[in-house]
Symmetry: D2
Subunit: 117 residues, 4 copies
């Protein structure tokens, strides 16, 4: 019997997907396929050089990452390994963009403070 | 509209869950709660010093990790970050125990070969 | 005796550092300190919402991440956990910016093709 | 100029190394090579189904993981991606074995308590 607990209504996940046993060491084609699938999901996402960050309910986010695996398997990739960093919080809602802004504000304040010395 | 693609029927996920903003640096109490929840899930799992490995369908595995987040939030942890390594393959079914056995067999063969050499 | 093998001359590492047992769930102050330390390192780095990507020789990159841990310990954080995704390749040198460009080029080509199709 | 801060004298790192662009989806051969290299390093390490945990000074641990990359590159693997979870703490020294023991003790106590209850 599965536990009746729900999953979190909101999360931010950053995933780095790696196909194994592919003829070349390049993964750009697979990552492009992943971006196209994410686009159809309706979730907010952003690509960076070490992964893709996606935001939404836990179930929606994890489903779309699983669908990325399934899609690539159907395209012929026999084995896939992903690293997923996923965060949830209940103290406040924080979008993925706000995290960087907050750090940059602290950095700017620090520089102002040292200029004002 | 969500993509109609299914998620993989089988995966092995290894996750390391970290509570943030807790009064102590110890996470043993939270990890013990996670083990209890996993026990009720019916999935195969094993605890090691750097995480917990769990095996099952993509949806079941990801649901139970999400439930771990939700359970700890309800126990008062305001923020949780998990690192999840998740692998899927379609060339063959491989349980989590077999991976280590395969490497150990290769190591043993290598030692036999060098003794014979 | 340590093996005489060298470490790779170039790598791209993306790390997400998490302080444990801190009074608040916010990590912005710690991440700002990390950015300041990276700035003094002379290495190329970029902050995104799920971590910081840094590029350089294996030894330089790993040293600076270790220094980030040490710095935060000295600032009073008793326990720190980082997730580091690190990649090396010998087929060609690829900077962290080029990875995203390559995927975006593939996506743009795909859209051109479907428009032309 | 590199910062004069030292790196932590002790850490526990768990790494999962993935070769890219190899002819097969199996990684057992590469993981066996990694275990052999770790054996020569003199560091404590243990293999589990989702990675290898290694313990020592930050510099020693990160050097040996880098040497694993370099070794596999020399064996012909053109691209390697590792996920490394690394933890440091200054409140007390905790070996990798103790973490699991502590959780298991908590679980056993909970079961005793509910039997007595």
């Amino acid at each position: 019997m599965s536990s009746p607990l729900p999953t979190p209504p909101h999360c931010i996940a950053d995933f780095c997907l790696i196909p194994l046993g592919t003829p070349t060491a390049s993964v750009a084609r697979e990552i492009a396929s992943v971006q196209r699938l994410l686009k159809t999901s309706g979730l907010s996402y952003t690509l960076h050089s070490a992964g893709t960050t996606v935001e939404g309910s836990w179930d929606d986010v994890m489903r779309v990452i699983g669908q990325c695996h399934e899609m690539l398997h159907r395209e012929g990739v026999v084995r896939i390994q992903s690293d997923v960093r996923v965060g949830t919080r209940v103290d406040r809602v924080q979008g993925m963009g706000e995290k960087v802004e907050r750090v940059e504000r602290l950095l700017a304040e620090g520089e102002d403070a040292s200029r004002e010395g």
